[in-house]
Subunit: 251 residues, 2 copies
DNA sequence: CGCAACATTGAATGTAATCAATAGATGTGG
DNA sequence: CCACATCTATTGATTACATTCAATGTTGCG
């Protein structure tokens, strides 16, 4: 059975055989293009919870794609307050905001054991010129990030605490479904505090809203495990701000 | 003197002679590349106040660069509420969020008489492959949009009404300086209502904060005309969230 | 087991929204 | 040119929601 193990390892280290390829950079590439991309993508040992992908101030080395686990991106203000900019799940790219200044402004940390692929940005840019399909997909992913942030801006600017939590849960739900997991039952990779720092709420408010949604039989939550019992009600709550259908990418 | 007029007109319709070229797509291109880019960029008659560049649901035709005036990007929720996603000044690109879905989700409307350049997205993408300098700059501008939204997310998620207004004014200030205008005295291209819809505040709150900042001698505002009397105080107010130095792009 | 991190709940406070009225600016047609 | 309507902005009074401060409960780890 040793051969089997080796096979699994080989499968894992190729974009062509990655089950995320339709969500990630390789999307739309033909066999040859894929092979070329594969040559520059690096896959290293997984990160453990608390390990950093990069830190604020680091010069832009690589763009990272989450392969498993979850990554939190956050920034620190002058006064040391943390703000969570987003959570990244498998198939999603981290570090796109650093291209302009060629320097990261945020910290990317693993919320749990997580594996990732990385590609040096200079090479990625070069490849985007050479492989039109890759350039196309990369621009799409950049644009998607902008779209998602637009939706998030709307949520943060205009929605109540309850609506924000509802939108957050539905967003996660659709992203898990996209990954082939259950959309109605999942485990949150982040603590309540990070949800609060992401949505602009205090941890107490987050906790109270979770309790309220539970009293109203809309969700049932046991620590990090969440079950959406009444998706329609949750949908109604977020006032159409979350676009649960066909949504993907950052929360 | 008729020749002079013709000359001015010619100057205006070339990226090579546009005074915004260092802020816009042509940045970093050599003479030949510039000439190629110039061939596909369209410059049409200016928009009047209230004219639309595109509307939600429109398929992605072109990417637009504001040349003069100001453009507001906003979206409507299911319930018809407006949310302003941003304001675009000369040298800034509008419509980058539509690349992913190949469809606009927002409305782009001129806040005042505004001119613009447009480039069909399919051609832009093709050119990005052919001219590495253009691809590089376009990715930078996409990335910059993401960075600015990140900063905005922080502002909306964690700042008080006063801090939001302070950050908003400083952001506009730095963008006007970048364009060569006064950083301390400018005219707001948008009404109070739009500022509120952008910052997640009601028009009443916006008005009250403006009044308060005036009582505190930090600004003086007469309708749309704003003078920043005490930039240091304004800076202190926004708690380091606005990064007034070297900031550029969307508010 | 005992500690530390995470989470929940309650009471009091404060900020911004809402409701409401007024004032000023802009534009139109008589 | 003025009367009127409309749009925009300001200010005040009240209300509602989320924060803050505080205490307690729970889980998992060393």
């Amino acid at each position: 059975m040793k051969a089997n193990i080796v096979d699994l390892a080989k499968i894992k280290v190729s974009c062509g055989n990655c089950n995320l390829s339709e969500l990630c950079l390789p999307r739309g590439l033909d066999h040859d293009e894929l092979a070329q991309l594969d040559r520059v993508i690096k896959r290293t040992t997984p990160l453990h919870k608390g390990d950093y992908l990069f830190r604020a101030g680091d010069s832009l080395g690589s763009i990272y794609a989450v392969r498993s686990g979850a990554v939190k991106l956050y920034s620190l203000s002058d006064t040391g307050e943390e703000h969570v900019l987003g959570f990244y799940l498998p198939g999603e790219l981290v570090g796109l905001d650093a291209i302009n200044a060629e320097r990261h402004r945020g910290f990317a940390v693993a919320l749990e054991t997580s594996s990732y692929c990385s590609i040096p940005y200079s090479q990625l840019e070069e490849f985007c010129s050479q492989l039109p399909g890759l350039g196309h997909q990369f621009l799409r992913l950049m644009s998607r990030e902008i779209s998602h942030e637009n939706r998030l801006l709307l949520t943060l600017a205009t929605r109540s605490a309850e609506e924000r939590i509802a939108a957050f849960l539905l967003n996660l739900s659709s992203r898990y479904r996209r990954l082939g997991y259950s959309a109605l039952e999942f485990r949150l990779p982040m603590p309540r505090k990070d949800i609060g720092l992401f949505l602009g709420l205090t941890i107490e408010t987050v906790s109270r809203i979770f309790s309220r949604l539970q009293r109203e039989k809309i969700i049932s939550a046991d620590r990090r495990f969440v079950r959406i019992s009444n998706p329609a009600a949750l949908d109604r709550l977020c006032g159409g701000a979350a676009a649960p259908v066909a949504s993907a990418g950052r929360a």
